[in-house]
């Protein structure tokens, strides 16, 4: 059975282009032009599916600039019941709403204009993480010579154990659990240091620099621990 995608996008040109491109990749695409239509489709498609508790779609692509409001409503409705991945499409780089949505549980974001290749990569990662809200967390991360054993609290790079401080490890582990996805500053600070540290971005800068110093060949041009400026960090997708 092909994977089902709900595309909420009000611009006709982009909607048609994305639908065609995704269809070629083998996705079944439902399109909506407004929040309202999107919500409606979400509940109707669900009715078609056999299992009542099962969500009707496997992934939602959500544009932020919709005619009848922000995407927050859909995200809230979706997050209340399901773990369907939500990828946000945003028109502007410095869009505060985008970060809010990520903090509220959106899986990833793309800034317009983007290429189909980028979109497909983000969708792949989001789909792989599908269900992590319900399922047991990731326990092992492996990619390009780097192994992170989240249970044994061990990090091995090219066969050599890397010594990390407890905070460094927690930070890396948090990124590894969402590997391939962007994790916002706020989420990282909250999960690693605690709720009272969410404004202390300078802690993140320092510890990310330390981690890069230990895990990157050239910390000035990182290949694993990527920076999403103004948003957060992303550990590259694990090799399958």
């Amino acid at each position: 059975m092909s994977l089902r995608v709900l595309l909420v996008e009000d611009d006709r040109g982009l909607r048609v282009t994305l639908r065609d491109a995704l269809t070629v990749e083998g996705y079944k695409v439902y399109t909506a032009t407004s929040l309202q239509e999107g919500m409606l489709l979400l509940s109707n498609v669900k009715a078609e599916g056999g299992d009542a508790d099962e969500a009707g779609v496997d992934l939602i692509l959500l544009d932020l600039g919709l005619p009848d409001g922000s995407g927050e409503a859909i995200l809230a409705a979706v997050r209340k019941r399901h773990s369907i991945p939500v990828v946000v499409i945003s028109a502007r780089q410095g869009d505060g709403l985008k970060i809010d949505l990520l903090d509220q549980g959106a899986d990833d974001y793309l800034v317009k204009p983007f290429s189909i290749g980028e979109l497909l990569a983000r969708m792949r990662v989001a789909l792989r993480h599908r269900g992590t809200y319900l399922k047991a967390a990731v326990t092992l991360y492996e990619s390009d010579g780097l192994t992170i054993d989240l249970v044994g609290r061990q990090v091995i790079q090219d066969g050599v154990t890397v010594h990390l401080t407890p905070t460094e490890f927690q930070l890396l582990a948090r990124l590894a659990r969402s590997a391939g996805q962007v994790v916002t500053h706020r989420q990282l600070l909250n999960d690693v240091w605690g709720a009272e540290f969410v404004e202390h971005t300078h802690y993140l800068r320092l510890y990310m620099a330390q981690l890069r110093g230990k895990l990157e060949a050239d910390p000035a041009e990182p290949q694993r621990l990527l920076t999403e400026l103004g948003v957060g960090y992303r550990l590259i997708e694990a090799a399958r």
């Binding site: 990310m208 000035a220 920076t227």
Partner: protein, 503 residues
């Protein structure tokens, strides 16, 4: 004196009496000390001048003594009174001068004197303990007496309100002793600027020191007027400053708008024409093109779209940066991370890895807006790649110098003609280059073309951060664009002990 009586003669006793009354006048008010000295002279007569116990005087000499005694003590009392009044006045003047100075300083430190209307009220109530009410015209003088157009402190009655408005409109003080409407129960003082009267203050009579007579009252009145005028001048200054800022904003908005129109009419057309050509070729000749050509056309569309996207970002950013009240999203950013993110983006168009990053170790965190900084570096690197030969290196360096974090992008291109080293930052100069191409050297034209508003945005970003972006020719050929960002001391981070590591 009774004790001294048997020991000294009458003349010396009289001297002691004079001493006593002189000392008393130091503290007693003039009238009381005059009365007291008269009384003491009578008592002296009664007790010490023969015949004792009688007011009669036996010897003429003693009569002369008593009269002199009386006159001398009176003269002392009068002198003391005059002296005391003079020093009181001097003290009052000093106090008033100090009050004016304090008030003036408070006003000078504030961008909007309206915030300090209460201060004026306070200062006036120091002078007089009656009701103080203040009416200040906010911006423009209304046609009718419209209370909406004014700031009002206190609760004046309708007569009082009318008096305040009248005072504002005439710019002259009213009330007792001012020569205008002397029958009014209150005083009204206008707040006069150089050109207009911008408000008025009412000082209620009540239990005021202004009730005191004559010169003292006139002094207090002129002090109240001085305070009001000082306030009026400050208001006028603030209004002039606001008007100037508005005019500046307007001119800037106009400039930005012109730059944008120029950019849209020029910079957008080239990539759009390329996209149009490639896309229509794909649509109309698609079947007849081989795979390689089709892919090349598609790639052209992608590249030109990227260029258009950058242009749009710059244009939006320019409008945002020049908009009044723009605020940066400042955070603690790592130069290494920002440069790393730029490199990652650049590599897509830089397969030969021409761009190199050199970062001084131990750089402090930068207080900046990461997205803006990256937009600036992105523009600079893009320009450097475009305007230097296809195999020449481009360097991003970050170093510390004189309490600045210096971001520099350097290339080995042809550099910028000396005449154009400042003008390349001015989007508004583009029109000149476009209209009179012969007047502009070819290399400058090249640097201008395509850069669009890019360098203007870069400089606007630099300045929004309190820094500066400047051009320098590079030794051995090429350009260096340097952004100096003032260092800010970052907050401390509680370090964990290195010992407790993960094994």
């Amino acid at each position: 004196m009774i004790w001294l009586d048997p020991k000294v003669d009458l003349a010396n006793l009289a001297l002691v009496l004079i001493l006593g009354s002189a000392v008393a006048t130091l503290w007693l008010p003039a009238a009381i000390s005059v009365a007291a000295s008269a009384a003491s002279v009578f008592v002296f007569n009664w007790m010490f001048v023969s015949p004792r116990g009688h007011l009669n005087v036996e010897v003429h000499q003693d009569a002369l003594l008593l009269i002199s005694l009386l006159l001398v003590t009176w003269i002392i009392a009068a002198l003391m009174a005059v002296q005391r009044a003079t020093s009181d006045r001097a003290r009052e003047h000093a106090r008033q001068a100090e009050q004016l100075r304090d008030f003036g300083e408070a006003l000078r430190d504030s961008p909007d004197p309206l915030d300090h209307a209460e201060l004026l009220q306070q200062a006036l109530s120091d002078l007089a303990r009656g009701d103080i009410m203040i009416l200040i015209v906010k911006a423009e003088m209304p046609q009718a007496d419209d209370i909406e157009a004014a700031l009002l402190l206190g609760r004046p009655g309708s007569d009082q309100l009318e008096g305040l408005w009248h005072c504002v409109r005439t710019g002259k003080p009213l009330g007792p002793g001012t020569g205008r409407y002397s029958a009014l129960p209150d005083w009204y003082f206008p707040m006069r600027g150089r050109e207009a009267t911008l408000g008025a203050a009412l000082v209620g009579r009540g239990l005021t020191r202004l009730n005191s007579e004559g010169s003292v009252q006139a002094g207090l009145r002129s002090q109240a007027q001085a305070l009001c005028d000082q306030f009026g001048l400050a208001m006028e200054r603030a209004m002039t400053a606001r008007a100037a800022a508005r005019a500046r904003d307007l001119a800037q908005t106009q400039n930005v708008r012109n730059a944008m129109l120029a950019a849209i009419s020029h910079d957008y057309r080239t990539p759009l024409a390329t996209i149009m050509g490639a896309a229509s070729s794909l649509a109309e000749q698609g079947a007849r093109l081989d795979d390689e050509r089709r892919e090349r056309l598609a790639r052209t569309i992608m590249e030109e779209s990227t260029q258009l996207s950058r242009l749009t970002d710059n244009m939006l950013q320019l409008a945002r940066l020049y908009a009044p009240g723009m605020r940066l999203v400042l955070d603690w950013e790592s130069a290494e991370e920002v440069v790393g993110a730029i490199l990652r983006r650049v590599r897509r168009h830089d397969p030969q890895r021409r761009v190199r990053a050199i970062l001084e170790p131990g750089l402090p965190l930068a207080r900046c807006d990461a997205l803006l900084l990256s937009q600036m570096l992105d523009n600079l690197v893009d320009n450097a790649l475009k305007y230097s030969g296809p195999s020449l290196p481009v360097e991003i360096t970050v170093r510390r110098q004189n309490a600045n974090i210096v971001f520099a992008v350097s290339d080995r291109g042809m550099g910028v003609h000396p005449d154009w080293r400042e003008r390349i930052f001015e989007a508004f100069q583009r029109g000149v280059a476009a209209q009179a191409p012969d007047a502009v050297p070819a290399d400058a034209r090249a640097a201008q073309r395509g850069a669009g508003v890019g360098l203007t945005v870069c400089r606007a970003i630099a300045r929004a951060h309190g820094g500066e972006l400047s051009y320098q020719p590079r030794e051995g050929g090429g350009s260096i664009f340097e952004f100096r960002l003032p260092e800010v001391e970052p907050p401390l981070v509680a370090r964990e002990s290195a010992r407790s590591g993960v094994p």
